[in-house]
Symmetry: C2
Subunit: 490 residues, 2 copies
Amino acid sequence: MSVVDDMRLFMEPRSVAIIGVSRNTSDDGSFNTLEALLDFGYPGQIYPIKPGSDEILGLRAYPSVTEAPGGIDLAVISVPRQAVLPTVRECVEKGIRAMIVVTQGFGDADAEGKALQAEMVQVARGAGARIVGPNTMGVINAFSHFSSAFVSLSKPERKLPTGFIGQSGFATYLGLMTRPLGIPWIGAKGIDVGNACDIDQADALEYLTGDSETRVIALHLEGVKDGRRFIDVASRASRLKPVLALKVGTTDCGARAVASHTGSMVGQDQVYDAVLRQAGIIRVGDVEELEDLAKAFAVLPPLPGPRVAVLTPVGGLGVMAADACGQHGLELAPLSSATMERLRSLFPSWMSVGNPVDVWPAAFSVPYHQVFHQVGQIVLEDPNVDAAMSVVYTAQAGYTFFEPLAELEDLAARYHKPMTCFVYGPRCPEAAAGLEESGRIATYPSPVRAIRALGALWKYQVYRQRLAASDQFSAVSSQGSASNLFLTRP
Amino acid sequence: MSVVDDMRLFMEPRSVAIIGVSRNTSDDGSFNTLEALLDFGYPGQIYPIKPGSDEILGLRAYPSVTEAPGGIDLAVISVPRQAVLPTVRECVEKGIRAMIVVTQGFGDADAEGKALQAEMVQVARGAGARIVGPNTMGVINAFSHFSSAFVSLSKPERKLPTGFIGQSGFATYLGLMTRPLGIPWIGAKGIDVGNACDIDQADALEYLTGDSETRVIALHLEGVKDGRRFIDVASRASRLKPVLALKVGTTDCGARAVASHTGSMVGQDQVYDAVLRQAGIIRVGDVEELEDLAKAFAVLPPLPGPRVAVLTPVGGLGVMAADACGQHGLELAPLSSATMERLRSLFPSWMSVGNPVDVWPAAFSVPYHQVFHQVGQIVLEDPNVDAAMSVVYTAQAGYTFFEPLAELEDLAARYHKPMTCFVYGPRCPEAAAGLEESGRIATYPSPVRAIRALGALWKYQVYRQRLAASDQFSAVSSQGSASNLFLTRP
């Protein structure tokens, strides 16, 4: 079986044994994987395994996995450290080919733990079985309504086109967590490889690369074991869909922290930087940037050029957006003379109209909503404009003067150019969520972040263009390979 | 009169004339300065000025400022551009010594506007009067319940020790706006100098420097006209309280945008960098960092050393915090052997205990709240620990297992060490606001930002220590001056 088939057992199991399920149930900290799975709406067959229990949460329970009837696709193992190896043996005996080992205290711990981990891998490999973990929350898949997380997650209301691969419990948390602004975008599918004793980032990446439900891949890397394979898989992935990476352990402090977290070797940061760039992966600086860019790629159309128009009711924020364009490889779109002419007719005669467009002075006679819509149409019709960033101020309840929400949605639907918004003020969470419900606009809590997201779209577009050029060249010269291209950042 | 006395007329006027007040009133976009001022709870005398009106919003109105009775401290002028200069003359005639000119279209616009601005300054100076603006929202002061903003702001529920000086309408918006996370911290007092035709950033800074209600000063700079005076005032300010600066127009795109916004010359960015550093000002990269650091300085005690302890239920987030320590001039606190001994007693024997402290493995037998509190006490009692950053995960409603909120407040109150939190998950806005209500903890939406805030406290502490050393040296050698110190970033 291929890695992709193996991964399907983890991500879309038809039946699952929950081994070491708790009998505690509560809304506050039962950490009951079974309860969480039921809450998540999993439709497959579940076998709770717990010695001495006949029934847990309305389901028939079994004293051991070998006594459960029928074939089982996946086992989720949450038993104390000393019981893990015997349980893995039982699973193998039962013919189970996929195991998630949640328990900590292996490669992440002492010599005994490291030895146990090595033996666990040997047992599994001997039987052609695969392991995710140990020291993991496992996987989440909002499409199949399956999650091995031991914290309750709400039922997935929307299926997002983003896949997340991480090396920490927060990977699965991110599955459906709510961030301060907008709707949560990372991780309709999430895989926490934990100590990565068997299934590693490259395996997970291979699965998400071929997965039609995933359009953007976000990676959280502490370390990578088989660098060559990772580069190979990542290079293939980035040809098909954007791949983002948050590589941690970049400082001495961080590297030491990684060693005691998942036992990974972080490697030299410059090496990672070069390797990721070569593989066409967009490296990000922190978890906010990871989420920001994942959202942009999930929601927005491709950016055909670097020329951005900025629309704002506040001149000072337009300046910050302009600075951000310079910092993130973009340009302020040079509006055509026809566009300038049309804009001037809306503004006071003394005003020097330009980009950023300070919309406010046009709103003395016509309501802001209406004039914003007019300005937006004029600007987005300009072939010199590739994308737009809009500033949206939300005042207190009822006071919606500065919120051209329906107008923004209309502009996004009509012009098919990437549109981001900086949304702020008292009701920013509601307004941002409303804009994102349209499925066409990405919102951000600062002008810099709203522009940086567009910069990432452009960076990926440049990468794709270079790849295409290189492929053409290869076809002609029959030598050279795209995966060896050392691409510099645009 | 001194600049400080002048500024008091703007910030704490006993009586104010609103010239060009609108008769429109509504909850959505009346832009009625008078209505906004009444909403803000201003207790002083107000004279609405509007030809042809006897009464506006229950207040006696006058056709011109000269016909209003009594002395008037301040005039807020929002009349069309051509009417501004005659209005300024009338105010001067009436003996008014402070004017806020809201109207746009002067130094920010065409040649006519620039000439009008110059004449306006001449008229005011000839009479010993001062002008804030033009092209400004003016000022806000939550302490005196006075604001010249034409958008309605909620009544100030808390008086914050932060002062903001900006060059854009968003300065006053920031007065009481709600950000996505936590409670709003910037701008109990805010001054938007607009085109800065008369009162400029240095004047506003001088006022806030001597103001006992202001403990942190945040600057938004497009350009500075009198660089020498600015450095002088800023150097004195930063001796007494932290001064933060967001300098914009740092790229070519941004510089051009500034020129058409307030007509300022942005200057060379490296020069600003050196000048700000020399004046002991902490430069920030974007508006989020400005707010983050203002909050840290407003809420937290000084940071006596660079050694940070990180407490987290998720190892991967501890690694990110560790990286951030390395990036922001801090260290992971080397826990004492006594502390390590005490911690080991709480954790499984296989675990290698260290800093960051992954608290979760200690919570198998004891509830997380309780064990978090114990870990927190042990760590904060360690003299090797100068500050703590805690990760707080909030799950869905009712599920508060990972939220040791009361415990964090208790730790902050007992140990008087700076404490920041990274708060995330579905209910992060409520949890963050709750923690900040204590007035002792600052919350942030990423581990990096929670650490960066501590880094700024340390940067300021190092600056103060160097100043003290230099002053001692000066006292001995009777030469050299602290304001000439070229301080490198720690």
